[in-house]
Structure formats: structure tokens, C-alpha cells
Symmetry: C2
Subunit: 401 residues, 2 copies
């Protein structure tokens, strides 16, 4: 019997990953430097050289979250793990949390917070618009003992960018901790953790950071860490306990669980690329390509879901034109052009398409390619378009910005 594995025949269907252009709500394209970084040698989770890399990741995350004091680290799960880490670490059974909801992912917060035994006040406003601070103000008056206010910064389901300044101020005035979902915003639009007085924010690697999915970068204020460390009962989740995770990412660096080394190496490279490009440049790139995409989609006669002053650059949802088959168009974009776009979630299922231009996917050539593909497909499914109009409108926008 040999020591090494034989280079034998495949045991299941041979299938390599097709080359997709990922223009959905994530995962997005991955920078080749990130892929290279990810396939380095394996290393132990307490190896002195690996600890240096953890420090790099913490420091770079501090830059990207725009924070000086917060603990910054990457949790070993996807963005949803970051959401659960916050709710389960910051809330004890019976604690009151106010969740500000104007889309699909706000409802996920309600589900998670309910599971950990919190008293959940769910404030539901209209999908496709920003959440109105007045709703929060009223709810805070009615719930003076509130422990936490939580909100989504960039709602991937509706394409809305939520202003956070007023929400933050209200939370602070009532002594509540403030939690922000930055899954789709971090690295794509401005997120000022310190300036906006945020206590906990979490993101994901596969949206605007140009990495594969699998980690949740987080920032935790010292106030939030103090709150966790003075809980009467431990968080329901051991795996996602922010205090235990911080004890590995920072002194005393005690073993908690085996760090997902390859993903951390990938994230380190992804963050280096973000900082090299510069946050302002990166945000401007996202805005420019989104403006071009919107111009093209509007030239096709489609209507962008959120009002003009509330639009995310990262995700653009449009109403699916009357009579056009949602699934057929998405399937043909994939099979004929290798382009993935997103379907609607929740109450927008079957009603909207979502175009993601995030991180490495935010490129002018992808904008033009996707509009060209739509110009070709739509007339064959009963929706007439003026040939070349979309690509022309997008090109004009690209030239003018």
C-alpha cells in the first residue's frame, strides 16, 4: 500500500466550475490575488507567523470599518453568522431589542432575536424606501428599557441605502446599543463606525471585499464588549460568542475553535486590495458603474425600485416588466451569457430583478455586457426594446462621470 493518494479516476461526475459573470446579490467575482493568497500552505492557528497575519487582518479591518478603538476580527461563518453573533452576544433572554425593518434581512434579525429569547419590537416600514427615524423615536418612547437598536445599512433585497446618523443619535439618547448590518455596504459605500457611534457591525467577504464567502468581518465597540462581559447568563451561542472570539483575535489569544486559515489569508489579501485602491476611490467606482447600469436599464424602459435619493450603488433592483417571465430571462442570461443576476426575495419574489455590482463585480465591462445581453434576450420574450439604446445610455454615463 502506498503512502500517497493514487492519482486515480474521479469518483463522482467530473465538473469544473464554469466561468460566470456574477452580477447578483453575492457572491461576487473574486480578485485573482485573493485566490492565490488562499491557496498558500496550511499553518497552525497559533503559529507565531499566523498570529502576525491575524494582526494584519485586524488592523486592515479597522481601516475599512473606519474605527480606532473597536475590536475588529473575522468570525468563522458567513454574514448571517455575524448577525447571529451580535444578537446572541448582546441580548439576554428578556432584553428588549428594537429592529428597524424595511426589507428581507430585517425580518431575519427578528427571527434570530426571538430565538435567543429577547423581547423583540419589530418596526416594519415600506419595502423599497428608507426606514423613517420617527418610527424608531416613537418606539423608543414606548420601550424605555431598550437594550439594543438594530438596522440594515444596505438592504440587498430592496437596494436601499439607509442613512444612519439619526438612528444612531436616537439609540444613544435612549441608552441603547446600536447594531448595524454592513454585509453589503462594507467596502462599497461609506460606513463610519466611530463617527456614527456604532457598537456592533458585521459584514461578509463575498460582497464588496472581493473574497469568497465564508467569513464575517466584524467590529465591536469597547462598550459592547463590556456589556457582553457583564452579562448574567452566557450568550446562547458558544461558537459565535463575541467575547470568546475576541479572546482569540486579541490577547490572551486563547484557543477557541480552529481558525479557517485559508479564508483568513484570502481576506487579508482582499483587504489589502481595498486599502490600496482607497475607500473614496472604491466608493466612487461603485457609484459610477451603478449610474451607468441604471441609465441603461432605464433606457430599456425599466424602473429602478428605490427613489433616487435612497439608491445603493451595490445592488440595483428593477421592477420586472409586465408579461415577462422572471425565471426564463434569468435562466437565459446564465445559459447563453454566463451572467448571474439575482431574483427577488420575500415580498419582491417574482417582481424584481436585482443587479449586483459589488467589489470586483463593479466593472464597466460587466455593465455593458449585461445590458447587451438584455437587449438581445428581451425582444425574444415579448418585450420590445430599441436596439443599442441601453448600451448607448450606459456608455454616455460612463464617459460623463
Amino acid at each position: 500500500m502506498t503512502e500517497s493518494s493514487p492519482s486515480a479516476a474521479p469518483v463522482s461526475e467530473v465538473l469544473s466550475v464554469p466561468e460566470r459573470v456574477l452580477l447578483g446579490p453575492g457572491p461576487s467575482m473574486v480578485n485573482p490575488r485573493v485566490l492565490q493568497a488562499m491557496m498558500q500552505n496550511m499553518i497552525g492557528y497559533l503559529d507565531p507567523d499566523y498570529v502576525l497575519m491575524l494582526e494584519d487582518v485586524s488592523g486592515l479591518l479597522g481601516d475599512v470599518f473606519q474605527t480606532g478603538d473597536a475590536a475588529t476580527m473575522a468570525l468563522s461563518g458567513t454574514g448571517s453568522a455575524g448577525m447571529e453573533a451580535g444578537l446572541s452576544s448582546l441580548l439576554e433572554p428578556g432584553d428588549t431589542v428594537i429592529v428597524c425593518i424595511c426589507g428581507f434581512f430585517g425580518e431575519r434579525m427578528v427571527d434570530m432575536a426571538t430565538r435567543v429569547g429577547a423581547n423583540v419590537v419589530a418596526l416594519r416600514s415600506e419595502w423599497g424606501k428608507t426606514f423613517p427615524p420617527e418610527m424608531l423615536s416613537d418606539a423608543l418612547e414606548e420601550n424605555p428599557d431598550v437594550k439594543l437598536v438594530a438596522i440594515i445599512h444596505a438592504e440587498t433585497s430592496t437596494g436601499v441605502r439607509q442613512p444612519l446618523e439619526d438612528i444612531s443619535r436616537l439609540a444613544r439618547e435612549h441608552g441603547a446599543l446600536f447594531m448595524v448590518d454592513a454585509v453589503t455596504s462594507l467596502g462599497g459605500n461609506n460606513l463610519s463606525f466611530d463617527e456614527w457611534d456604532i457598537d456592533y457591525s458585521y459584514s461578509a467577504t463575498q460582497k464588496c471585499l472581493g473574497c469568497p464567502p465564508g467569513l464575517s468581518p466584524v467590529a465591536v465597540s469597547q462598550r459592547a464588549l463590556d456589556s457582553i462581559r457583564s452579562r448574567e447568563t452566557p450568550p446562547t451561542s458558544w461558537y459565535l460568542d463575541l467575547s470568546l472570539n475576541a479572546n482569540y483575535w486579541y490577547s490572551p489569544r486563547v484557543y477557541h475553535h480552529t481558525s479557517p486559515v485559508s479564508m483568513v489569508l484570502a481576506l487579508r489579501e482582499g483587504l489589502r486590495i481595498v486599502v490600496e485602491e482607497g475607500l473614496e476611490n472604491r466608493f466612487a467606482r461603485h457609484e459610477r458603474n451603478a449610474a451607468a447600469l441604471r441609465a441603461g436599464l432605464e433606457a430599456l424602459g425599466m424602473e429602478v425600485v428605490p427613489p433616487e435619493d435612497a439608491r445603493l450603488a451595490q445592488v440595483t433592483p428593477v421592477w420586472i416588466p409586465e408579461g415577462v417571465d422572471d425565471a426564463e430571462v434569468r435562466a437565459r442570461l446564465l445559459s447563453e451569457y454566463n451572467i448571474e443576476i439575482g431574483k427577488g426575495l420575500g415580498q419582491f419574489d417574482g417582481k424584481v430583478w436585482r443587479f449586483g455590482l459589488m467589489g470586483e463585480s463593479s466593472r464597466a465591462d460587466y455593465v455593458l455586457l449585461s445590458l447587451s445581453a438584455l437587449e438581445n434576450i428581451l425582444p425574444t420574450v415579448g418585450y420590445e426594446v430599441a436596439p443599442g439604446a441601453a448600451v448607448s445610455a450606459a456608455s454616455k454615463t460612463l464617459a460623463s462621470v
Copy 2:
């Protein structure tokens, strides 16, 4: 402003991962085929081609867990996430769980089960020995309403392989579900999910499967899934809810969270390699290399912790010789020979070294290299050894098996 990232100067210390020989309790070495598979193109988590790959992984995991009926999938977290998924999905607040403990990781189960509100009966037996079924038998008589019995199959902290047949029979006789930690056993020694009537088992990718850390492969019996689906309250963890995860890995394939695509691609390749080698061949390889390592360590005058009939092939703990500095020897193995071995955990901290020979790390050349390095280092820290004795004993064993 350019569209692509400039190939600019590094923003943090340039540092590539050193080439380590990983002979600790994990992560272990990664097969180069796995690294190649991991750096394929990114793809959407509901892309038809990706769904085929998920099916491959499920099927291969069924082979490796040796189960026909169980749901097999990979959770998006490390082995500890698999532990928490089981305890939080199978237990409701107030449910009784009996945890059979003879090492560090049994205590982790107690911590997690307590956090989800279960009534935890912790049975503690001596570290370094197998857990005696009589203890469980007595506890079952005293707790007739027990919902779950949980145990570690391969205790990485003590190097003990736990026989499971009697434990399983006792759990079944008392109507309890049976949960097995296979983090260090899956792919390294026999684990017969169906034959041993297991309801839930979880593992990790970085031990005997030759992959990077980051996923927890699990098997869930239909009986366990039925139990979860008839809970009165939802599991405390949404992210690790086994039922929600199964709804993505199997029909109706609804979105739960973004699948960590690259890690799943890596696992698919790792599992193909396991099945190509063949489980029996793989177990024999682990036994052979462990026998050689033990012969070498004993020739150095060191004593293996567990008794002969309870030893794991994957992890060999030895008592650190009197007067020898634990940390110094490990640091010198790392700095002079690039070899990582493991330190003791919990009550074995500072008392044992742990040598892991798992998956891709279970190789004859690594056995000889590590023994040679010890032969060189030990005399310089005040512990005399007969030159060449360890390597010679190991070589003799390798030749005879």
C-alpha cells in the same frame, strides 16, 4: 480613475506562509489537489452547476459516514459549529442531555448544552482512558426522560478512541437520540453511522479529510430530523439550525445563507481523494504510521498516554519527560525544523505533547523527520537519548507492517 485595482505596494507587512510540517491536532497538511480545487472560479450558491457539486458532496459524505439514509451536508463553520448545531437543534430548553466526558471536548459539549438551556447531566470519567458504559447505564436509570446522549469518538485531547457500540445500545434502549463527535475520527478510523445507530454526527475538514479548516461535515438521521421538525420552540441558533440547513442542501433548496463556495469545492476534492484511496486503506495507513511513531517515541523513553487497546492512530499524546521544558521543545521544533506538534489541553496542559498524524499528515517521512528532530533537540535540553534509536525503531515497524 482606473477600473481595476492598481498592482500597488503592500499596505501591511509582506509575509507569505512558511512551509510547515503540521503534526499537531489540526489543521493538518492539505492535499495540493484540494488547494487547486479551492481556487476555481466563484459561482452562485443556487447555480445549477453548483447544485450538482452540492449533490456530489452529499453523496461522498454518505460514503464516508457509511450511511444510506441520513442527510449528509457540510455546515458553514468549523467542527465546533457542528457540535453546537447538534446540541442547539436537538435540545429544547429543559430537555435532558447526558454528556459522557473523558477529555477536553466533552466539557465543551457541557458548556454549549448549558447555554441552550438544557438540563445537562455531565458524566466525568478519567482522562486518558475510555469512557465506561456502566456510568452511562446508571445515569440512564436515574434520568428516564433523557432526550440525548452525546459522546466524543476520538478525543483529541487524550488520544483515546472510544468504542461506541455499547453506548449506542444503551441510548437506544432508553429511547434517547445518540450524538457522536467525529471531528478527529471521520476518514481516520472506522465510523459506521448506520451500523452504530447514530442520530447525529459531525466532523471537521482539517483533520483526516485533508482540507483546510472551515466546514463541518455532518450526518443527521431521519429520526433526528423528525425530532427537530416537531420541536415546540425553534432552535436557539438560526445559523446552525440543522433543519434550515437541510432545506438548502436538499429539496426544496431554499436560500438559507450564502454557501462558502470555495470551501465546499475544496471539500468535494478532499472527499474524492478519501474515496479513491478507500476507507479501509486509509485507516490502515493511519494505523501503520501511528505504530511507527509510537515505537520511535517509546525508543526515546517516552510513555504514550492511553492504554494500548484504546489508542487513536490520529493523535498520539506522550507524557513530557520530567525536567524538559514543554514550550522550549515545541518552539525549537517549529523554528529549527518547521514542525508543529500540539500542546496539552485542559488538565493535560504542560504535561503532554500531542503528535497528530491525520489525513495528509499521516506519512512515513513525517514520522521519521519528527523523530530525527526530537533525537537532535532532546539531548540539548537535558534529556539524553540513544542516537538513532527512535528512527531505527520506527523504521523497523514501518518495514514490518
